[in-house]
């Protein structure tokens, strides 16, 4: 993985010192909360309902054991012994004292981490495929490009006061696990017929109150021009994006109002003046960054493992875990393990300090020291030998981390909602917990198969409900929490925005409604191999409406 050099370390330490000064000025009254707000936001510090929250950047979701141990330490020492992994591959600490923030940032700097650009109207932490460098279907490892983008976007002097936040995601697989089409810029690295790296560039995707799927603005961008082209897009957006209404300020609205062709013309005009100059990426420098992401020293192993096979045959619980939480690795004899942070009935995405430490230990011993954070709020051990899987499983199980539900109905994404967030209309976490309890039975879950439920506590859609197979949106109806259901959303390469199914449900009714939708799916499917999303695409929203509102 990427390691800071002297330049990076110096940069982060300068930033910590600067923020320490700003916090001191706030605490001694030189700065009002109004004046302090933009400064703290630029360091990931939010004021929530009950306390200050710190959001720490995990660049493209990649962590070392040492970093994860530090996060565990921060949770224990400065917070309430747990952290919350977010849909942007970051971690949040919900109960932090403002006066201690600079110390925490200094602690983070020790392990090459920071909280820069995890909030504010700037280019946010760049995200990428959480299986990068491991997935069997990967064409190109997206991490070197994500790292180059991370560096270029860090305190970019021109793009720190954009009309609105700006999110970039990168994938290097045809199967998109990074949800690139719902990002402001989505990049797919691929190879042309001559084997050279090219990027398909998508622009203007996003969720929020006006969800939109991105449009492809380039299909063949040479890798050397990646930064120049992104800079051109950002410049056009910075100048032309709407600033009169924050709900219309994302680049998706500019794409929509201006039209893709006109926008592309403007971008090309800027690009013509930028390309071939100081932002051009020399192949040697890309290679230098790539070297940080060289594959770990994999052993040469057979494609199958007797130890693994025996465990699958003899231990049904391990077999269930293996069926659900493993993904194919590009190297024979290895597997990708998803660690579900969605145990039945628990808040999605939370991990205790002890759990983080346990995962750090396992990763150090069995996964080349690497951990990934997924945008589905789970963690990943990217490189585990098949031979080691039974042991790894047992270690995970002993600390409550072996829930075999990756991709299933209880693997729910939920935003913090009304329990923490001052913008919320309704609670998200308790709804997730109740759905999880309703479908707790593991064989029932695996019978239902792949089903992605995503819950947001308000229209800002931090819980990605628009792209949930089943999306749940909290709304306020005359002071009461209500939940609107959308169906058919999807965040992968077949990106779709869910359709509203009908009138909302009260907090009391919502879990029954979800169960009814699942029952309808089970009746409609041709075979267990036809997933919920396949059925929805085949039959549309109607049968679900009919069964849901039959007594209405």
């Amino acid at each position: 993985m990427y390691r800071y050099d002297e330049f990076d370390s110096a940069f982060v330490l300068e930033r910590v010192a600067e923020f320490r000064d700003q916090v001191a000025r706030r605490l001694n009254g030189e700065l009002t909360e109004d004046q302090f707000k933009p400064l703290r936001l630029m360091n990931g510090v939010y004021l929530q309902l009950h306390a200050y929250m710190l959001r720490v950047a995990i660049p493209y979701g990649v962590l070392s054991s040492r970093q994860l141990r530090k996060l565990a330490y921060i949770a224990r020492r400065y917070d309430r012994d747990y952290g919350h992994f977010t849909t942007r591959q970051n971690i949040q600490f919900n109960w932090i004292k403002l006066a201690e923030m600079p110390d925490i940032l200094a602690e983070l700097a020790e392990v090459e981490m920071h909280a820069i650009q995890t909030s504010g109207n700037c280019i946010r932490n760049v995200t990428a495929d959480h299986f990068a460098g491991a997935a069997a279907d990967e064409v190109i490892d997206p991490r070197p490009y994500a790292e180059i983008l991370r560096q270029w976007s860090s305190l970019h002097p021109e793009f720190t006061f954009l009309p609105r936040k700006f999110k970039i995601a990168v994938t290097g697989s045809p199967h998109d696990r990074a949800a690139i089409q719902v990002h402001d810029i989505g990049l797919e690295a691929k190879r042309d017929s001559a084997g050279r790296v090219r990027f398909a560039v998508w622009v203007g995707g996003g969720q929020g109150r006006t969800p939109m799927i991105a449009k492809k603005i380039r299909d063949d961008l040479p890798e050397s021009e990646l930064l120049a082209y992104c800079e051109a897009i950002l410049r056009v957006y910075n100048l032309e994006g709407r600033r009169d209404n924050k709900y219309k300020a994302r680049i998706k609205i500019l794409v929509h109002e201006k039209g893709l062709d006109d926008l592309a013309d403007d971008v090309e005009l800027e690009f013509a003046s930028i390309r071939g100059k100081s932002l051009d990426l020399p192949a040697a420098e890309i290679a230098k960054i790539e070297a940080y992401f060289a594959p770990p020293p994999f052993d040469e192993l057979p494609a199958s493992s007797a130890i693994y096979d025996v465990a699958v045959r003899t231990d049904p619980e391990f077999a269930a875990f293996a069926r659900q939480n493993l993904a194919p690795h590009k190297i024979n004899g290895y597997s990708i393990v998803t660690i579900s942070l969605k145990p039945i009935g628990a808040p999605p995405g939370d991990a205790t300090s002890a759990q983080m430490e346990a995962i750090a230990d396992i990763a150090a011993r069995y996964s080349f020291d690497e951990i990934r954070v997924t945008h589905e709020q789970n963690l990943v051990l990217p490189h585990v030998r098949l031979d080691d899987l039974p042991v790894v499983y047992a270690m995970l199980a002993s600390t409550g981390l072996a829930t075999p539900n990756a991709g299933l109905v209880t693997d729910i994404i939920a935003c913090p909602g009304l329990d923490y967030c001052s913008l919320a209309n309704a609670r998200s976490i308790p709804v997730a917990q109740r759905i999880s309890e309703r479908f707790a039975d593991s064989s029932r879950q695996s019978d239902i198969g792949e089903l992605k439920i995503k819950i947001s506590g308000c229209i800002n859609a931090c819980g990605h409900h628009h792209v949930g197979h089943i999306g749940i949106l909290g709304v306020d109806r005359k002071g009461e929490e209500f939940y609107q259901i959308t169906l058919g959303g999807s965040a992968d390469e077949n990106c779709a925005i869910g359709e509203i199914v009908g009138p909302g449900f009260s907090a009391d009714q919502i879990v029954d409604a979800i169960e009814q939708i699942v029952a309808t799916y089970l009746e409609l499917r041709d075979s267990p191999r036809e997933r919920f999303i396949d059925v929805y695409r085949r039959v549309g929203v109607k049968p679900f409406q009919e069964s849901l509102y039959v007594n209405a």
């Binding site: 050099d5 330049f7 110096a10 940069f11 300068e14 930033r15 010192a17 600067e18 000064d21 700003q22 030189e30 009002t32 109004d34 004046q35 933009p38 400064l39 109207n121 180059i148 560096q151 270029w152 976007s153 860090s154 305190l155 970019h156 002097p157 021109e158 793009f159 720190t160 006061f161 954009l162 930064l227 410049r235 910075n238 100048l239 600033r243 003046s273 930028i274 100059k277 100081s278 932002l279 051009d280 990426l281 020399p282 420098e285 230098k288 960054i289």
Partner: protein, 177 residues
Amino acid sequence: MSTPEAQPMLWRDGRFVEDDWRFADDSTPLPDGGKLAVSKVRFLADRSTLITRSDGIAIALASGEALGEIENDLERLEMIALHFPRYADGRNYSTARILRDRLRFNGEIRARGDVLRDQITFMIRAGFSAFEVSHPGTQVALRDGRIGSIRHHYQPSSIDGGFEASGYVWRRLSNRA
């Protein structure tokens, strides 16, 4: 902004200096001599007389105001003033970069309006060379040299002259402002 305003002071070349420019509004008659800054509208309306002045002319642009109609006159301008109605309105960072990088404007680029200490480093990187500062805390910080605590930059920029490359093509190292 609720920030208390002091008398604006002009920061240029590392110190506060007397402002040698007058900003004319769009309706009053033009003064006879002296350096004069006008809006784009006024410049286009009175262009023929303005370009004959010998004391120097400048154009003051609002946030995000397009450069198209004045591109061909840039050589005649000594200064362009770019306004920040709110610090969070960042359009003129891009305008400054276009002026420096694409249009090769070599005169003064001045930031006016909501110019605050925590933004000045960004402004310098984007090509600004002078700052009209009304915010008392920012005036003090500039005077005390407490601006520009970040010296490591991950982007090439418009004023690379004084900045060293550092490791990768996109990185730059600056001296303390």
